[in-house]
């Protein structure tokens, strides 16, 4: 297979990038987890999305990784890039001056193959656990205009709704990695989102039932890796502290 098939002549002068990528298929009894090395030429403005496609196209058609939107919106391409969980589509190869990039799948999530993990399954469990939907006993007449919500409150709620469930906060959190039952920043952020939403009639005591234990808010050790790695820059530090104060006051 030609090594530089998709490169145009003016791009072939780019520096050489060395990728070390975990290869492992847990469903294949003959597969052993190992790092495979690939070398490709860098192209201008190259992202890891482009690089991985180039590797799969030219060097290893068996390489598995996830992408959908390529724009940091879908949250599918989270992976450990030189030890840090990041969205591959928003990571430029130019940010690695030595041209060496090691890719591992995000821990904490079930591995499908190579760099591909099932974040959806984890997120589904989290959503059910924190009952991630509006709880209201109020009967709504859909023929009438809804009760207005203060713009500031709506903005604050929508701000937390920007979470794309990429799993990076979970993969960056040593607590979540050590203790798989930990609800994670994504779950605590979700609780904070509904706590803020005036449509939700749950009380603090109701939220305590969901996250008021050592696998929930009191398990958080404030390592703040979630805050420092969230690709959507969500105010996780602030909201987790807020929920902790709220939950600690529940009688």
């Amino acid at each position: 297979m030609p090594k530089h098939k998709i490169m145009t002549p003016d791009q072939s002068s780019g520096r050489e990038l060395t990728f070390e990528i975990l290869k492992y298929n847990p469903r294949d009894p003959h597969s052993k987890p190992h790092l495979e090395t690939y070398k490709i030429k860098e192209t201008p403005g190259m992202t890891l999305f482009v690089a991985l496609n180039m590797i799969r196209e030219d060097l290893d058609p068996d390489l598995a990784f996830d992408f959908v939107c390529r724009a940091g919106i879908c949250g599918s391409c989270g992976m450990m890039i030189n030890g840090r969980p990041q969205l591959a589509c928003r990571t430029r190869t130019a940010d690695y001056p030595d041209g060496k990039i090691r890719l591992m799948p995000m821990p904490a999530f079930e591995l499908i193959k190579d760099l591909s993990v099932i974040t959806g399954q984890w997120m589904d469990g989290m959503s059910k656990r924190v009952e991630s939907w509006i709880h209201s006993k109020t009967e709504h007449d859909i023929t009438r205009i809804e009760e207005p919500v203060e713009p500031d409150v709506a903005d604050a709620t929508f701000e937390l709704d920007r979470c794309i469930e990429c799993g990076i906060c979970v993969a960056s959190c040593a607590t979540a990695l050590m203790r798989p039952d930990f609800v994670g920043a994504v779950g605590l952020n979700r609780i904070a989102r509904f706590e803020m939403d005036p449509h939700d009639e749950r009380t603090d005591a109701d939220y305590f039932e969901l996250v008021g234990d050592d696998a929930g808010i009191f398990g958080c050790m404030t390592l703040l890796a979630c805050e420092d790695h969230c690709p959507k820059n969500l105010p996780l530090q602030e909201k987790i502290a807020y929920m902790r104060r709220k939950m600690a006051k529940v009688k």
Partner: protein, 256 residues
Amino acid sequence: MSDLIEGYMGKRDDGTKSRMPAYLDRWQSITGLILGLFIIGHMFFTSSILLGKDAMYAESKLFEGSLFLEEPEPGIVALAAGIIFIIFIVHAALAMRKFPYKYREYKMLKTHSAHLGHTDTILWMVQAATGFAMFFLGSAHLWMMIAEPEKIGPYASADRIYTDNFGYLYAALIAMVILHAMVGLYRLTMKWGFTVQKNPRADRKRNKKIMWAAILFFSLLGYSALATYWKIGQEHQPNYGERYQPQSVQSTGGDS
């Protein structure tokens, strides 16, 4: 009865979750805050030797109640050390709930923090390691203060540090306690959002800068004081056991 129900069922007898995790988390923080603030005071007090033997003598007598007692009472120091020891034990018991206690947890934490390159995660590992070490080092120091509170003074402390070899213990303890306490106080402000006002992210940066400055300052202070005691102990070795007599009372009385 409710203990029996909660113990087996994981819920209280009214069907709700136990409030104990909240209580434990709160008390871990409260005991940590008390110990952290105590350490700041402690570092200043022990460093009074840098101002001279008289200053350290006066300060040690102050803690023995010289302001309101005719005869200073070292028992007061023992009592205070005993209270700190109890808070220390409670804090250790509460904080060790967070330790990685299985090989898999430890391995994951070690690998992750080594590759993530994230300061706050590494600092937590430092806290876990220093906390573990202080189970032993801190206990040895605190028991000494409870058992022999009268042996605190410019010469008595210096003799202990130099001749009795406690200097090695303190050399290790100073680094550990400063790192553990200053990182802990920083983490406490983040954990509960104490200082979080309009801009929590700016608060974090500021608090972290204060944390690094405090680590540097108290390390310099602590090791300077230790070096001073060491030097005094070295010079005083021939008269080991003799107590300091302050300049002002040398003609009337002695160091107790």
